[in-house]
């Protein structure tokens, strides 16, 4: 008995010991839904990767909260009159984390590496118009282009500069322990658990206000929200349960940040399917989408009804249009005009296992069912779904999204140009659209002609309905009330790039 009592005392002693605290450094903890594969933006272009690496490394330019280009490692830039040269003036007195000064040669190295076909850079084609990079001096560099490309600059704003010496020394390993010029210095990384970054006291934009930044991976949406509400993480962006939004917004102890994002979700119509080749059937489907209802009830109010591929925040967005109205009667008429007054045909509708997409698919199948159209919903795991729309034509309709539509070319060329490359999985072919999109690439981005071109494109798309747009996405971020300096960024990869301004108040 005595022995047991001793054991109990020992156990109690244990319980007491764990509470013993240690002097804490100021650590900012950011929750994320997914682990990064690597931190080298040249080989890993995904959001999970960029939201981390953008705190360590920097690009020449970046997007501010209004999605305008702003200086980062370049203090200024200019296009030549013929549009064939872009000159960048680089920031002076900027040092990489290993102590060497940032110079024009690092920019040259980064882009030449990217453009070298042997390096397998997945985004190489985005920069393919760069034919030569000329160093004027350590702080001035000229990109020579094959042909004018008014939107290349947006892609330059997405590519972080790596230091030549470290990138060459580390090779493939660079993505596992990157070195940059950013506000935080890479420290340790236990994959699927946490990444620890230390403050860069010499950061050119001012030393961070916290000592340490941690990224913690919490894959389950519910568990992440719980960890946030319990105060174990300070902030996170994305993956907030639609059913919880109302409650969270009413809670005075939670700061809910919302910002319309540059993307949308849509129903795509495979025009190699004989039925979907008829624009009246496509229009009918679009008139069966209750966009308001979907935003309010499926998405918990996150997002807004969509009607064009160019997101509302861009100057090229056509604000004279409005969403196709939810109008089953009109849809019935359109089907009748197409020769199917009582429906009587069947369609397949594909998507991956994302909750709200599955719900939207069910709603759409019901609406079409009411008009006598039999819809077979097929939900597939992401890789299989992706493979289907990328490599087969075995589908009539699918639900998917586009993100990061940072300029009108990116938002239309790949999607609607008949030679738009591998993303043309609707097989849309409209000679006028092709012509306009080709022209849009060459005219200066800030010209009136550019605005006209994309206005007309949006009008044609609106009538032709190669996509039925469902909703514009909205970025949503939660932060603790004692976190200052944070504002939700519409472009998720840029969420934490100003983390040196974030502070934890006592």
């Amino acid at each position: 008995m005595k022995k047991r009592l001793g054991l109990l005392v020992l156990l109690l002693a244990f319980l007491l010991v764990w509470t013993g605290g240690i002097a804490e450094a100021k650590t900012l903890v950011i929750g994320t839904w997914q682990e990064a594969m690597g931190l080298d933006g040249r080989v890993e272009p995904g959001v999970a990767e960029a939201e981390r690496s953008n705190t360590i490394m920097e690009a020449l330019l970046c997007f501010n909260h209004d999605m305008e280009l702003t200086p980062r490692l370049a203090t200024d830039w200019e296009h030549s009159d013929d549009g064939l040269e872009i000159t960048f003036y680089l920031r002076e007195g900027v040092y990489f984390h290993h102590g060497r000064e940032f110079v024009a040669d690092d920019v040259k190295y980064t882009y030449e590496w990217l453009l070298d076909p042997d390096n397998e850079a997945p985004n190489r084609s985005l920069y393919i118009d760069i034919v030569e990079i000329e160093i004027v001096n350590d702080h001035e560099i000229i990109f020579h282009l094959r042909e004018p490309n008014g939107f290349l600059i947006n892609n330059i704003a997405r590519m972080n500069i790596v230091p030549r010496d470290k990138a060459e020394e580390l090779g493939d390993e660079f993505g596992s322990r990157p070195v940059g010029t950013g506000p935080f210095i890479f420290d340790t990384w236990r994959r699927d658990d946490r990444m620890v970054l230390k403050a860069n006291p010499d950061y050119w934009g001012g030393a961070p206000k916290v000592d340490e930044l941690q990224f913690r991976v919490i894959p389950s949406d519910s568990a992440r929200l719980m960890a946030f509400e319990a105060g174990e993480i300070h902030m996170f962006q994305g993956g907030v349960d639609a059913l919880e939004i109302e409650r969270l917004e009413e809670d005075p102890n939670i700061v809910v940040g919302r910002a319309p994002g540059p993307g949308y979700e849509y129903v795509g119509f495979n025009q190699k399917s004989p039925l979907m080749n008829d624009y009246r059937i496509r229009q009918a489907v679009s008139h069966l989408i209750n966009r308001e209802g979907i935003v309010d009830h499926v998405l918990g109010g996150i997002g807004s009804p969509a009607y064009s591929p160019i997101p509302p925040m861009l100057p090229w967005h056509h604000d004279g249009l409005e969403p196709h109205a939810y109008d089953p009667e009109k849809a019935r008429q359109l089907l009748a005009e197409a020769g199917y007054p009582d429906g009587g045909f069947s369609l397949s509708l594909h998507t991956s296992d994302v909750d709200h997409r599955m719900e939207i698919a069910e709603i759409l199948a019901y609406e079409l069912g009411e008009l006598g159209v039999d819809v077979e919903i097929r939900i597939e795991e992401w890789g299989a779904f992706w493979d289907r729309i990328m490599h087969t034509t075995d589908y009539d309709m699918y639900i998917l999204s586009w993100h990061g539509q940072l300029d009108p070319d990116r938002a239309t060329y790949r999607q609607f140009h008949s030679e738009g490359g591998r993303y043309d999985y609707i097989y849309y072919d409209n000679a006028r659209v092709n012509m306009l999109l080709d022209e849009g690439r060459i005219v200066p981005a800030d010209s009136d002609r550019s605005l006209e071109i994309y206005r007309e494109v949006q009008e044609i798309i609106y009538r032709d309905v190669p996509y039925a747009f469902i909703f514009y996405i909205e970025e949503i971020a939660l932060s603790q009330p004692y976190i200052t300096g944070f504002e939700v960024h519409p472009y998720h990869p840029a969420s934490w790039e100003n983390a040196h301004l974030f502070d934890i108040e006592d």
Binding site: M37, G38, E120, S125, S176, R191, I218, A223, M226
Partner: protein, 327 residues
């Protein structure tokens, strides 16, 4: 005994071959390929074809298999496609977390199920029996992710002792530290992080083993030799624990080996709910990215450890029942 172990070890070889074949062809024949998933939004078809050639995905499947298997038996499981790091080091980094989780889950299951099962059998029809069997039925029926979420909501959120996610330190490491330096800190930290996920993982096993223990015990208690023992005038206690219990334990031990398989499978869910940085999550993420080398090596190692655990279970029979011979 030695002969038996060697024979069993040899019999693992065809199992491994079979598993490796099935896994290899399943993951390669499934729609979706790693390169398309990897390259993001802007790669051209030519870029993709080139990258596929670099990884050898343009070769016929049987050549790819033979090449992989040839390297694997020399201990080279290749490099992860997405993480550009050797697969073995990725797995070893996380193996401890999953092994600890599975063992703790099993430990909790045995700790609860054996006494409860025995008690239910001896007090058959009592409220303990009825309560235990009801709980067991509920335990088997509850999905693990739900158990995990409920534990987080009702235990994690209410008691600061239990963290809501992640893993800090190692319980096994902490035990060693405690015995060498008498510092319990690491042990307690490891325990705090491990307890809820292990409990969630072990629920179904606990329930199943409780039922099994009870029925096995009931069966043994009706055997002739137990009646004989009783009629000799031995006390209930001696009869139950000395004569009946050891024999009743045999089916439970058998199932323990198999249960480890279920625990490793269940770890996928539990590791996701509790953000536990283990092998199961590594493998499941690799499946969705079609990171073939990780999937192949990971499942193979899980299969090997499953086979080895069952071998250990078979050997342990001998200690429980001296009648069992291994030749």
């Amino acid at each position: 005994m030695q002969k038996f172990i060697i024979r069993r070890l040899l019999s693992i070889i065809p199992t491994i071959l079979g598993v490796s074949l099935v896994v290899f062809f399943m993951i390669h024949l499934a729609p979706g390929d790693p390169v398309t998933l990897m390259v993001g939004d802007d790669a051209t078809p030519a870029d993709i074809a080139r990258i596929q050639a670099i990884y050898g995905f343009d070769q016929p499947l049987h050549i790819q298999y033979l090449r992989w298997f040839g390297n694997a038996i020399q201990g080279d499981f290749g490099v992860s496609i997405r993480q550009s790091r050797p697969v073995m080091s990725l797995i070893w980094e996380r193996a401890g977390a999953t092994v600890e989780l599975a063992f703790m889950g099993m430990f909790i299951a045995l700790l609860i199920s054996i006494p409860l099962g025995v008690l239910s059998a001896i007090r058959r029809g009592s409220w303990i029996d009825i309560g235990a069997m009801t709980l067991a039925l509920i335990g088997i029926s509850m999905p693990r992710f739900w158990v995990g979420l409920m534990l987080l909501i009702y235990v994690g959120l209410n008691f600061d002792f239990f963290p809501l996610f992640g893993r800090e330190g190692s319980l096994f490491g902490g035990i060693i530290t405690f015995f060498t330096t008498l510092n319990p800190h690491e042990f307690i930290t490891g325990f705090r992080y491990l307890l809820l996920p292990a409990f969630a993982l072990g629920t179904a096993a606990t329930a199943l083993q409780t039922r099994l223990m009870r029925s096995s015990m009931l069966e043994v208690l009706q055997q002739d030799y137990v009646r004989t023992a009783k009629s000799k005038g031995l006390s209930d206690r001696v009869v139950t624990f000395k004569h009946a219990f050891r024999n009743a334990l045999l089916p439970v031990v058998t199932i323990v080996g198999l249960q480890f398989g279920y625990l490793l499978a269940g770890a996928v869910v539990v590791e996701t709910v509790f953000s536990w940085p283990g092998v199961a999550r590594l493998i499941i993420n690799a499946v969705s990215q079609r990171d073939f080398p990780i999937v192949q090596a990971g499942t193979l190692l899980v299969a090997i450890s499953f086979a080895l655990i069952n071998l250990i279970v078979d050997i342990s029979y001998g200690f429980l029942n001296p009648k069992i011979r291994y030749d």
